[in-house]
Symmetry: C2
Subunit: 121 residues, 2 copies
C-alpha cells in the first residue's frame, strides 16, 4: 500500500513537473504601414530585441522576416517568438513598463498585429 502511494505520488510529481516545464510561447506577427520607412522598421526590430533583454521572465527570444514561398502570410512580414516558463511569465511581461513603452513606440507605424500564445505540446 505504501509502495502504491509512493508510486502514485511520484507519478503526480512527474506530471506536475512536466506541465511546469512546457514552454509558454508568445507568437507575434507584425505588418507595418506602407508609409513606415526601413529605418523606422529597423528601429522597432532593435527595440523588440532590447525589450526581450529587459524583462527577466523572457526565457528565449528569436525573430525573423517572412521568407515563405506560400503567399499565405496575409501581409504580415515579421514574426517575433518569445518564450516564457509559464503564464505568470507572460503576465509579468504584458503590463511591464518596458513593454508598454515599446507598444507606444510601435503603434504609429503598425498596420496590424496578430498574436497567439500556446503551451507547447
Amino acid at each position: 500500500m505504501k509502495l502504491l502511494f509512493l508510486t502514485l505520488a511520484t507519478t503526480v510529481l512527474l506530471m506536475t513537473s512536466a506541465a511546469a516545464e512546457a514552454p509558454y510561447r508568445h507568437v507575434v506577427f507584425f505588418k507595418f504601414k506602407d508609409t513606415a520607412t526601413p529605418e523606422q522598421v529597423q528601429t522597432i526590430e532593435k527595440a523588440f530585441i532590447e525589450l526581450a533583454k529587459k524583462i527577466d521572465t523572457v526565457e528565449a527570444f528569436e525573430w525573423g522576416t517572412n521568407v515563405s514561398p506560400e503567399n499565405l502570410n496575409d501581409g504580415f512580414t515579421h514574426c517575433f517568438f518569445v518564450t516564457f516558463a509559464n503564464k505568470a511569465g507572460l503576465e509579468t511581461y504584458l503590463p511591464h513598463p518596458s513593454h508598454q513603452s515599446f507598444v507606444a513606440q510601435l503603434k504609429p507605424i503598425l498596420d496590424k498585429v496578430c498574436v497567439l500564445d500556446y503551451v507547447a505540446k
Copy 2:
C-alpha cells in the same frame, strides 16, 4: 600574412557554419470553420502530429491552442511550429505527398490559415 589568411578563413568558416545552423521556422495558424466538430478538429491535430513524423526534414515540431489574453488572435485558434534545418527542408516538405494529403484532409473544415516562415535570428 599567413596568420591573417588563417584568421579570415576561420571567420568565413564560422559565419558559414552559423548561417547553416540558423533554424528555418515554419509558423502556421489555423482557424477552423464554425461547423467543424471537436472530433474533426482533433483528427486534424493528430494528422499534423503524424505528418511531422513522416517527413524526414522536419527537425522539430510543436503545437498548441491559443491561450492569449490579448484578444489579438483574429479568430485563429491553433499554432503549429515546424522547424527545418534550412530552406531545402521546407522545399522537401511542401510538395511531399504526405503534406499534400494532409492539406486535402484539412481544407474542408478550414476557415482560414496564416503562414510565416523565418530564419531565426
